[in-house]
Symmetry: C2
Subunit: 324 residues, 2 copies
């Protein structure tokens, strides 16, 4: 089913078929003949051929640390919608939280796509620099990297975490334990920084290494409790949910015995028991913003650095007055 067969069936040249398919002006009578021939034969242009001659694949690559994290999923879905509207597909790669694989994955992806969106990349700046040199069509989501000139859309992770700490402070909490995320994640750094700043408001914080997943949250609780906190602040909702299950195993009531916060506001956060106090990162706007940036740079326009998106705090049932 090639352009040749359609051309023959319609009695025109292949150039005319090509024009019809790409919506260029063709005498309507011919155009109709071509369209019906294409319809009959079920013709669809070969993307490889189109890609070869045009140098474009109408595809953007997306790298995420973990597809199973509903948060990344939300960003991805929003990005997908906008990309599809513009006739672009997305090729998604999951780095499995492996910061050492990210560069390799990204470079490989770059062979097949016209642009690359890195969501919460953990790779070192030097790696980002390598990518930036290999292609100008690279944008960042939730990673602010200075000096590389990469267009970026990100949420104000620092501000969100600070707000959460303020909320806890107002509830009378004085001693927190922070369940830290992966050290290589920008959001992790920002959130940690915010928690450190909270000390200025009289909060005493213990830092406990955890990680990005449910299991990590679950496993970090015991160490966190050795610091006798009245509230647990988790790197994200997944970690918080894992912590919640461990607290339950220990017969600790949330929030009566101990308060708990997450961040991201994934769907599960609203449905856990108790429901989770968290901050609602605007997944949709991140996804839309990412598409806006990548489509701009692919079009050769200069994408502006957008300001940080604000994450609204959502107070639910997992936080309460400090136990004494």
């Amino acid at each position: 089913m090639t352009i040749r067969s359609v051309a023959d069936a319609a009695g025109v040249s292949i150039a005319t078929v090509s024009r019809v398919m790409s919506g260029q002006s063709v005498r309507s009578e011919l155009a109709d003949r071509v369209r019906s021939a294409a319809e009959d034969l079920g013709y669809q242009p070969n993307p490889s051929a189109q890609g070869l001659v045009s140098g474009l694949n109408r595809t953007v690559g997306v790298v995420v640390p973990d597809l199973a994290n509903p948060y990344f999923n939300g960003v991805l879905k929003a990005l997908n919608v906008d990309a599809a509207r513009a006739g672009f597909r997305t090729l998604v790669a999951d780095s499995d939280n492996d910061e050492n694989e990210e560069l390799e994955i990204s470079r490989n992806l770059l062979r097949y796509v016209d642009g690359l969106v890195l969501v919460s990349p953990r790779m070192p700046s030097e790696s980002l620099h390598v990518l930036a040199k290999e292609s100008t069509n690279v944008v960042l989501v939730n990673r602010v990297a200075v000096g590389l000139g990469l267009p970026t859309v990100a949420v104000d992770a620092f501000g969100a975490m600070l707000e959460l700490c303020g909320h806890l402070a107002r509830l009378g909490h004085k001693k927190l334990a922070y369940l830290e995320g992966p050290a290589a994640a920008w959001q992790s750094v920002e959130r940690r920084r915010a928690v450190e700043h909270a000390a200025a408001f009289g909060l005493d914080v213990a830092f406990v290494p955890a990680g990005p997943s449910i299991q990590h949250g679950h496993d970090a609780v015991d160490e966190a409790l050795t610091h006798k906190p009245t509230a647990l602040v988790a790197f994200n909702d997944l970690v918080a949910l894992g912590a919640l299950s461990r607290l339950r195993e220990l017969n600790l009531r949330v929030p009566e015995d101990i308060s708990l916060t997450g961040t991201d506001d994934i769907a599960f956060a609203r449905f856990s028991t108790p429901s989770l106090t968290t901050t609602a990162a605007p997944q949709r706007r991140l996804g839309e913003g990412a598409w806006g940036l990548i489509s701009a740079v692919m079009a050769g326009e200069s994408a502006e650095e957008s300001p940080l998106l604000k994450a609204e705090m959502v107070v639910r049932d997992s936080t309460g007055p400090a136990a004494r």
Copy 2:
């Protein structure tokens, strides 16, 4: 960075470069020259050109109803691993639980890929038939469609649900409410059938329409409770988790006041409060099985229909003796 530049740099013909890249026999001295030239220039073959000439893209398409469902994610990850090992990429499309979009999405995907894996497709059999005619390289996961000859790997949804019902019966439950999934899903049909069969063992079952997601589970509880069940049987873990949150809102204790089951054993099931009694669908084996089938048909071999995979029941804390 074309094959031409490498050939010139190495002082050989492009045919030789091509042979080296594809591992054909070339005098080792030349091969070394080519490899180092390719290395220096950072040459990577253009996939569009390769695809055009070979007719293959080394890519398989995967259609899932909802990428945010951790269950599909698990299947996908396993499939990805095996595909990557064989040098294939996956192009994933999310049908957003829209059974009417699935055919269109699949046909479109088929343009770009060498094979198509449909995970839990909801589209009608006629649509599957259309796809089967357009390409022989289509396989099914968790959808048994008779008479189409499509290679299939699926979990024994019927048996798993029956086992769950037996578990509840042994706990003394007599009156269940089943929170149904999407009518178009094969697993939904199978599970419903199992629940109906459970009636033969003295279980009285009320069928309540729900859907596939957390929100659906949450919203279906009130109607389910009008039937005064002692146990809620959910279409899947997501629905069960949603139901759990609603039960909590109603101050009903699980399992003291009412028991609850899911299916799939997604990660959250272990970490909910209470942890969820469910059946562990072998995501990894489904994914690996799907790759086995699709790689076989792509190679022109005839893929055998594999027998149904068994899902092990996992009894946790959400089920207990029937309240009276």
